[in-house]
Amino acid sequence: MEKADYDLIIIGGGPAGLTAGIYAVRARLNVILYEKLVPGGQIIVTDWVENFPGFPEGISGMELVDRMVAQAKRLGLKIENNEVISLDISGPVKRVVFPDGAITAHAVILATGAHPKKLGVLGEEAFLGKGISFCATCDGPFYKNKVVAAVGGGDTAVQESIYLTKFAKKVYLIHRRDQLRATKILQERAFANDKIDLIWNSVVTGVEGSDGLEKITVKNIKTGEFKEFPVDGCFIWVGILPNSGFIPDTIKKDEYGFIITDYKMETSAPGVFAAGDGRSTPLRQIATAVGDAAIAAFSAEHYIESLKN
C-alpha cells in the first residue's frame, strides 16, 4: 500500500461531511475534513428544521449545525478551513490541492453540497444585497411591514415564505406551475396564511430599481401577460446547483452536474465517495445527507481496509 497523509479526506462541512467525519473517527480512520467557509453548509441559512428526528419542537438550522460540529469535534474530528481547487484521482493515492499546498489520502468523500440557483434575469446581480436575497433568516427582518416577493414552489420557498410573513406585510409567492411542490404540511400553512398571495403559472422576467430593488416584472406563462409588482425585496428559492467546480470530469455526473454514485455512495472513481446535496439523488434533506454520509464513511472504511489486504 502506497503512503498517504491520511486514510480519508472529507471535502465539505455540512451535515453530510460532519456525519461522515463522525463515522470515520469512530472507525478510527486517520481523517480530516476541509470546509471552505465555515462548517454548516446550507442549513446555516435555514430558519427552522422540523423534519429532522430527535427535536420534538424543531430546531433552528444554526443550532443544529452547532450541535453537529460539537459532536464531531468531541469525537476528535479534525476540521480545517481551506478551499479545494483541484482533485487528482489518477493514481491509487488521491491528491487534494489547495491554493497553498496539497495533501494525499487513500479515499475521499465529496460532501461538497450545493448552492442556490439564481433567476438569471437582467439586473439580478446589481440588486444582490439590495433587495435580491437567498436567505430569509438573514434578511427577513429588513422587510418589516414591507411587501416582498418570493420565487419558487419547493420546500425551501414555501417554508421561508411563511417565515417572511413574520416581518413583511405581504409576500407574493411566485411559482411557475399551478401547484406547489413543497411537502403538504407546508402547503397547508401557506394557504392558511393571509399574508401570502400565490401567483401561479408565473416567472420573474425583470427586476428594477434605483439604489435598491423597487419592482419586479412577472410573466404569466399560460396567458403570456406581463404584470409589475412593486416590492422592496425578492427572495429566490428556485432550486440548487451542485458545488462541483473542482471535481474532475472522470467522476460521472448527471445532466445537472450532481455526482452519480452506486448504493454504496461510491462514484465512478474507486475510492471516491459522495454524500449529501451534491449527489444525484431524488431528495435533498438533512436526513438524506446524514444517511448518505453514514454509508459513504462505512464504504470508505471498507475500501481502505481492502487496500491493506
Partner: protein, 108 residues
C-alpha cells in the same frame, strides 16, 4: 482576540469609521443571522492578522438601524471597507477567508 474588533453604534459611526485615518472594515451583523455568527471567527482571525493596518469594527444592525440604512444595506452579513471615510469595497453574504484576504490586500 475579539478586543481588536471595536463594537460601533449609530452615534459613534462618524468618529470611529468616517473620521478614521486607518482604513476601516465594518461588519454589519445581527444576533438572529446564522451566517453572521458563522463568519464571526473568520473575521476575528483576519483582525488578528491585519489589525495593525486596518481597523476592524462591527455594527449590530438591530440596535443601530441608521448606519445600515445610510448604506442601503438590506442583507447581512455585509462587510464594508472604508478608506478616508469613503466606501471602497462591499461584500455581502458568506465568503471564503481567502476572498476576504484578497479584498483586504487590494485596499491596503
Amino acid at each position: 482576540m475579539s478586543e481588536v474588533i471595536t463594537e460601533i453604534s449609530d452615534s459613534s459611526f462618524d468618529s470611529e469609521v468616517i473620521q478614521s485615518e486607518k482604513p476601516v472594515l465594518v461588519d454589519f451583523w445581527a444576533p438572529w443571522c446564522g451566517p453572521c455568527k458563522a463568519i464571526g471567527p473568520v473575521i476575528e482571525e483576519l483582525a488578528g492578522e491585519f489589525s495593525d493596518r486596518i481597523k476592524f469594527t462591527k455594527c449590530n444592525v438591530d440596535d443601530n438601524p441608521v448606519s445600515p440604512g445610510k448604506f442601503g444595506i438590506k442583507a447581512i452579513p455585509t462587510l464594508i471597507f472604508f478608506k478616508q471615510g469613503k466606501v471602497v469595497d462591499q461584500i455581502t453574504g458568506m465568503v471564503a477567508k481567502s476572498k476576504l484576504q484578497q479584498a483586504i490586500n487590494s485596499i491596503l
